[in-house]
């Protein structure tokens, strides 16, 4: 009768033997030598317990980050790509888009300061709640757009996770757009309308897209300066949220 090899016995302990496990078990049930050997391996390995790992200091993460931060080189991301020799042609176009987007963003937020200053303080401002939600919504949307702009574009691309996110965002987007319109903020409403169209395009497209189709989606995002607008307005919204005293009761207050 063939005994099991040491390797078979050791690997069986971990469930990794090539030979089917039930065959090994059958053999162990009839072979006292191998059974004894298996018990020996088992007993020896059970003595080797995982090391007790000391818990690092509470500030460990922060300390790691602070030590790391200065060593991290800048990543150019999307803009770095523009400086590649073959893509220089795109640079001028993108810069023009950015300037246009910056101009439009500037217009969005040109509002009289005194209107805000005249408003009486309130204990609860429902608009502020919406403001927080819109800020979060824009941040999530920005993440999604960035993911799409940076996803690998070689071969068929699976966008199912991005689609799920886009569908979720799309529902919220509709509510916030209506809210912006009701609060007399056509600029934010327009941005959300624009964002909604891109989200719908992503949500309703095929789960797997070709590089060409992905390029089309990216083109839509780029050509409308959407990512930039979302960043600018999202940043503005967040800075409003961080302001200490919320203002309520304003007809003119924008989201």
């Amino acid at each position: 009768m063939n005994h099991l090899t040491e390797e078979q016995i050791v690997l069986h302990y971990y469930g990794d033997a090539v030979m089917p496990s039930d065959e090994i078990e059958r053999h162990l049930s009839v072979c006292a030598d191998c059974r004894s050997e298996f018990s020996r391996v088992q007993a020896m390995l059970k003595q080797i317990e995982p090391l007790d790992v000391p818990e690092p200091l509470q500030s460990f993460e922060e300390k790691t980050w602070l030590r790391l931060r200065d060593q991290l080189p800048e990543k150019g991301g999307f803009f770095r790509g523009l400086f590649r020799p073959q893509q220089k042609w795109a640079f001028a176009g993108v810069m023009a888009l950015l300037l246009t987007a910056a101009f439009m963003a500037g217009r969005f937020w040109s509002r009289p300061v005194q209107q805000v200053a005249q408003q009486p303080p309130a204990q609860v401002n429902p608009q502020r709640v919406v403001l927080v939600a819109v800020g979060d919504h824009l941040e999530r949307s920005q993440m999604l757009l960035v993911e799409i702009m940076n996803s690998d574009s070689k071969g068929p691309i699976n966008l199912s996770s991005e689609q799920a996110e886009a569908r979720e965002l799309l529902d919220d987007n509709h509510l916030y757009r209506v809210s912006a319109q009701q609060n007399d903020d056509p600029q934010v409403a327009r941005l959300l309308d624009q964002l909604g169209r891109v989200l719908a395009e992503i949500a309703n497209g095929p789960a797997e897209v070709s590089p060409g189709e992905l390029q089309q989606v990216r083109h839509t995002i780029q050509s409308e300066g959407l990512l930039f607008k979302v960043r600018v307005i999202g940043s503005e919204v967040n800075s409003k949220v961080r302001r200490p005293e919320p203002i309520s009761g304003s007809v003119n207050q924008r989201l």
Binding site: T5, L11, R40, P50, P54, E61, T64, Q71, N150
Partner: protein, 209 residues
């Protein structure tokens, strides 16, 4: 809703370097545990955690956004630790500062053993005699065996995960785990209890009739 790791990576790739902080906050503690089990030295571990994140940041462009970031980071951590252990082994061999262990294996005389000044995980298991033996035996493993054994035995990682992490074939990963256990047996069985020794002589690696 918490922003996903992939979204943070995308943000970093888009130029927001400080967003990387989120990933450090989320994962540094678990990476610390992984590395510590392999090095057994807190100071080395802290440095390796930092190097792991630095390496991850530098290769972030190669991260597939649909992949699991913690798995990807784990692989970097294990490989960085393996490099470190290999370098330490070379350094120790060069300096010839090995400590003589209790039961050195004649065939493995050139393998890394417990260096006096650089305690590994073995040094932390000094509560009793058996633990000392285990510590000495772990010190006889090569870095690859140590890492494979730690992943399989202490972390419960599958052979597939080990082979993917160390970029080995599954058979090679199994072999590393087996060789580690074989060496541990040779060192530990003489002290393991009644009727312990000698069986490993019969089980030299091939089937016996």
């Amino acid at each position: 809703m918490e922003v996903t790791d992939a979204a943070v990576v995308a943000q970093v790739l888009a130029g927001d370097r400080d967003a990387f902080r989120v990933l450090v906050q989320r994962h540094s503690r678990s990476i610390f545990r992984v590395i510590y089990r392999m090095t057994g030295n807190q100071q080395d571990t802290e440095e390796l955690v930092q190097e792991t994140f630095l390496r991850a940041y530098k290769s972030l462009e190669r991260f597939e956004l649909r992949a699991n970031f913690s798995t990807w980071l784990y692989r970097i951590a294990v490989n960085r630790t393996l490099d470190f252990l290999n370098a330490r082994k070379t350094h120790m061999q060069t300096k010839d500062t090995y400590q003589i262990v209790d039961q050195p294996d004649a065939k493995e005389g050139n393998q890394v053993q417990l260096p006096t000044a650089e305690p590994g995980p073995e040094r932390l298991l000094l509560s009793d005699e058996m633990k000392r033996k285990i510590a000495g035996a772990l010190g006889l493993l090569t870095p690859a065996e140590r890492v494979a054994f730690t992943m399989r035995h202490m972390e419960g990682r599958s052979i597939e995960e080990i082979s993917q992490t160390l970029n080995l074939k599954a058979s090679a990963a199994k072999n590393s785990v087996f060789r580690a256990v074989q060496k541990l047996r040779q060192q530990l069985e003489p002290f393991a209890g009644p009727g312990s020794p000698a069986r490993s002589v019969r089980w030299g690696g091939s089937a016996v009739k």
